[in-house]
């Protein structure tokens, strides 16, 4: 009978034992895959979110701009350039930006601020300023009214801690006030009723500004007030203008929130005497995976001439890239150690199995079966069990990962606040099926094969007489 058939039959002879050995492999593969998926997914999500909201995946700039970010290093922008870029199959949108510095004055106070000229409609693909418009303000009157409503005591206490704070989203206010999911709808109704803040957005062609919450507070300004901006524009021409504050935003990072102003990009160009110029053009892509990005960089880079320069996200976010790398390597080391231990687990099971079957081996040899044949059969058995385990592991991991991908695990409290501050949802994301599936399986297969060596060696060194006595 063919060896592998014999091996297969052996497995089914003792279902329990097969099940246990295969099960140890199964769990190893399952956990490793799930954990790796979570690792890769989360870091991917965190870092990519930061990149996506800040620099985008690629930008076109004047080739001097990156090293010296002054207005004089802005680039010319025309519809031709835009249409050339849009004609690339991976480019969905081009998002213009004009960034510079100015002094903001409210009459009583002056502060150096960052001025960001944006195209209000397109920005949702990038920093999504519109979503950061303040929705709720826990003003004194708002708190007074809320205290009269039917809401839990704990939430009422928290109101005091966050007096005066501004919120741009439901997520964060719920976290801060400790509103539980089941109460959320009900309580949010009250908050909307009493603490809503009227707000507005900016649009192209209309002079107007969005101001960071902390900056507005420092300058003592609110929506509808005027803000003066004075700076130096293109070729040193003085930049000076007054704008009505159309809206207040809440940027998670206090550093930026205390010194940011958004203007419509055409108004910004006017302010800095730089009509038709931009400091950067962000390309919004269809596919964001590494491969597509690299290919797109190559294609567009080839067609680009001086004085333009194409920058990829890795170049623009060196610190994040090195951090991602470090975390990734750290994660790999963890998985590596994991495998070491799993190997022990598998090995232990195999050890047990060999000990159990000593007698069986002894019998077979004494009735004439060749050791080499037995060894071969044993190896086949191990391979089958390994494959069974891996297959089962992958099969079980798939639905878990797929489910996790569409329904990421939500974080609570401190961790969540951190995520919200950075402007993205507090979830632990899973990475979709990728190369790592293959790699993990290969490693486990190797472990199984190595473990197989023990019973094989055992077989060869078996003395039938002793075995029979077992």
């Amino acid at each position: 009978m063919k060896n592998y058939k014999y091996a297969w039959r052996n497995l089914w002879r003792n279902k329990r034992r097969t099940a246990i050995t295969a099960a140890s492999v199964f769990f190893a593969v399952y956990f490793a895959l799930v954990m790796r998926s979570m690792q890769l997914g989360t870091y991917d999500y965190m870092f990519k979110s930061i990149v996506e909201s800040y620099s985008g995946y690629m930008q076109i700039q004047n080739d001097q701009f990156w090293e010296d970010k002054i207005v004089d290093n802005a680039m010319e922008f025309s519809r031709e350039i835009e249409s050339t870029l849009l004609s690339d199959r991976n480019v969905v949108e081009t998002i213009p930006r004009f960034e510079s510095f100015a002094l903001a004055s409210s009459g009583s106070r002056t502060k150096g601020v960052m001025v960001l000229g944006i195209e209000p409609g397109k920005e949702k693909h990038l920093s999504d300023v519109e979503a950061k418009l303040v929705k709720y303000q826990l003003s004194d009157s708002a708190i007074e009214k809320l205290l009269e409503e039917d809401i839990p005591e704990s939430v009422k206490e928290n109101l005091e801690l966050f007096r005066g704070d501004l919120y741009s989203g439901d997520g964060r206010i719920q976290l801060d006030l400790g509103i539980r999911d089941k109460d959320a709808d009900r309580i949010m109704q009250f908050i909307r009723k009493h603490a809503s803040m009227e707000n507005g957005y900016i649009s192209l062609g209309e002079p107007g500004a969005l101001v960071g919450g902390r900056l507005a507070k420092y300058l003592g300004l609110s929506r509808g007030d005027s803000i003066v901006l004075i700076g130096q524009g293109y070729h040193g021409i003085t930049a000076a203008a007054i704008y009505e504050i159309k809206g207040i935003v809440n940027i998670g990072t206090p550093d930026i929130d205390s010194r940011i102003i958004y203007l419509p990009v055409d108004i910004c160009q006017e302010l800095y005497s730089a009509p038709g110029m931009l400091t950067s053009l962000v390309l919004h892509l269809e596919s964001n995976d590494d491969k597509s990005i690299d290919e797109t960089l190559e294609r567009i880079g080839a067609g680009l001439a001086d004085p333009y320069r194409l920058l990829g996200w890795k170049e623009m976010n060196e610190t994040i890239v090195s951090q991602m790398d470090a975390d990734n390597k750290g994660g790999m080391i963890m998985i590596g150690i994991l495998y070491l231990v799993i190997a022990f687990g598998v090995f232990g099971t195999v050890l047990m199995m060999t000990a159990e079957r000593r007698r069986e081996f002894g019998v077979l040899i004494s009735i004439g079966m060749q050791k080499s044949k037995m060894a071969t059969v044993m190896i086949y058995e191990m391979i089958f069990m390994g494959l069974l385990g891996i297959a089962a592991g992958v099969a079980a991991a798939l639905p878990t990962i797929i489910y996790g991908y569409y329904h990421p695990i939500k974080f609570s409290s401190d961790m969540a606040k951190m995520f919200e501050d950075y402007g993205f949802e507090p979830v632990m994301a899973f990475k979709w099926i990728d190369n790592y599936f293959l790699w993990q399986s290969v490693v486990v297969a190797i472990i199984v094969l190595v473990a197989a060596l023990y019973p094989v060696r055992n077989i060869f060194s078996l003395k039938e007489v002793n075995a029979l006595k077992a």
Partner: protein
Amino acid sequence: MKNYLLTISLLAVIGFIPVQSQDAREIVKMANDKFNGEASSVGTMSMTIVRPTWERTVTFKYWTKENDFSLTLITGPAREKGQTFLKRGTEMWNWNPTVNRLIKLPPSMMSQGWMGSDYTNDDIMRESSIVDDYIHEIVGEEILGERLCYKIMMTAKEESSVIWGSQIRWIDKQDHLFLKAELYDEDGYLVRTETGSEVKLMDGRLIPTRLELIPADEEGYKTIVVFETLEFNLPIDDGFFSQQNMKKVR
């Protein structure tokens, strides 16, 4: 006999050693007094910023008193017209009629050069003296545009707070005019060259009316200042240099 010889040698010694630096410092002082020494001055100037791909000219009227106060009124181009800058000691204020706002300028505002020129915050605000903050030495003589000049090497003193490590200045022997300066940083790299030309008589004084500031690092960069009119020692009240006056002055 012996006494005579002794006296001569003593005189020679006393007279010889300090001769160089005493003269050098004196020369620089004289030139400086000529340039800055008037109690007050009123003038109109134009400043042209030259770059490889563009050029821009700003015209202004200015009033100074005793090196402590200065008021500058921009008279052109149209876009910039009406702005005033007031310097009082170490404070710098700016009035902008477009936005009707008077603000105090922090040092960061001038990191790009005043009005986009090659004049830095240090040039405008730093109160260093080319006489007191340097050690001077005559190192030669050169002819610059038909005028014979002393070439004076100036090394910044340890305790001083000047940004330059050293300077070489060419000072006209006859009229003590600053005709050229080379400014070096602490490590000896040339950072900027300044030249003065078109010497004219202004209100009875000889002044090089065309100054060029040439940064060493960049190709084709220059700032040219031309004095159009200049009057000295007109009586100006301290109160002229005030925030209220910034808005009124014409």
